[in-house]
């Protein structure tokens, strides 16, 4: 994250901000194409339904436009946009949890060690993983498997899901995710590790059922 008073506005972001401020509809369309679906996914990780996530994203776009004249480039444009989104989604989620007897999302870090019973007291495999006879191409081309991954994503606690979405689904760097979600390096790595391990376990179960 940049120090207060410094700016890291890249030439590409500067050009984009200038075009938006000039009312360039094409520039806005490109920004929407690039980020709208990811914003929906990220908002959906916090709130109770796709309809509410859509409202949050619509409000966020307006907040982004309204805030744009004051954007100082202390982070990248997309990091700044996603911070606005995440703050709005969290505000909406906390309003929802106050008005609903059941929280729509689970607690974030259950603190339970993952796969603890698969190791003996010396730390060696008691239950080693069964081999997956799959190549990367087979995994990415298997519609049913991808549906399982999508299902697994929805079982994750909010912050794990958001970190996984941005890092692995959208390919953001670790620094960008930390800045957007205001996480420490360690926290981000723990959330990512837990999320990946849980999705792997979900897939493993599915593959065992298919055998």
């Amino acid at each position: 994250m940049a120090e207060p008073g410094t700016t890291t506005l890249s030439p590409a972001d500067a050009e984009r901000v200038a075009a938006l401020l000039a009312g360039d509809r094409e520039a806005f369309a490109r920004l929407v194409d690039e980020h709208h679906d990811t914003m929906l996914r990220v908002a959906r990780a916090s709130v109770s339904s796709t309809a509410v996530a859509e409202e949050v994203v619509q409000e966020t776009w307006m907040a982004i436009l309204d805030g744009l004249p004051k954007f100082e480039g202390r982070s990248s444009l997309r990091t700044w946009m996603f911070r606005i989104l995440i703050n709005r989604a969290r505000t909406r989620a906390s309003r929802e949890s106050r008005s609903s007897p059941f929280s729509a999302f689970g607690s974030d870090d259950d603190g339970e060690p993952i796969d603890a019973d698969r190791f003996d007291e010396r730390g060696y495999w008691r239950a080693p993983p069964d081999r997956w006879s799959l190549s990367p191409e087979q995994v990415t081309g298997d519609r049913e498997l991808l549906d399982q991954v999508s299902e697994a994503l929805h079982t994750l606690p909010e912050r794990q899901r958001t970190v996984l979405l941005l890092r692995d689904v959208k390919g953001w760097s670790s620094d960008e995710v930390r800045n957007a979600l205001e996480l420490s390096e360690t926290n981000q790595r723990v959330l990512l590790h837990r999320a990946r391990a849980k999705v792997r376990a979900y897939l493993d179960q599915h593959l065992q059922e298919r055998r």
Partner: protein
């Protein structure tokens, strides 16, 4: 070996990233020294169950990258209308 299979499991995420992107493999996670990182990678290479577990984390990442985008039901036209209104407000404010 100094590190156990449990240690490999707990670093599987970073190890899978290192396998996928060998250029970044030289950089250890912040809590590990370069020599510890080397030892972890050696354990992984020599231990078939650990190697398989890290490979599965790698395949999981591949699957996540291949997920199709989520499409909302709201029309983008409404969003663009709001953009036009915002831009018009700005123009009138500037003039």
């Amino acid at each position: 070996m100094r590190f156990t299979c449990r240690d490999i499991h707990d670093h599987a995420s970073e190890l899978a990233d290192a396998v996928a992107d060998p250029a970044s493999a030289a950089a250890p996670p912040p809590e590990r020294s370069a020599s510890e990182w080397d030892e972890l990678r050696k354990h992984m290479a020599l231990c078939p169950p650990c190697l398989e577990y890290v490979r599965q984390i790698g395949l999981t990442i591949e699957a996540l990258r291949a997920l199709p985008g989520e499409k909302g039901t709201s029309t983008r036209a409404a969003l663009f209308d709001r953009f036009e209104a915002w831009a018009a407000r700005r123009r009138s404010g500037e003039s």
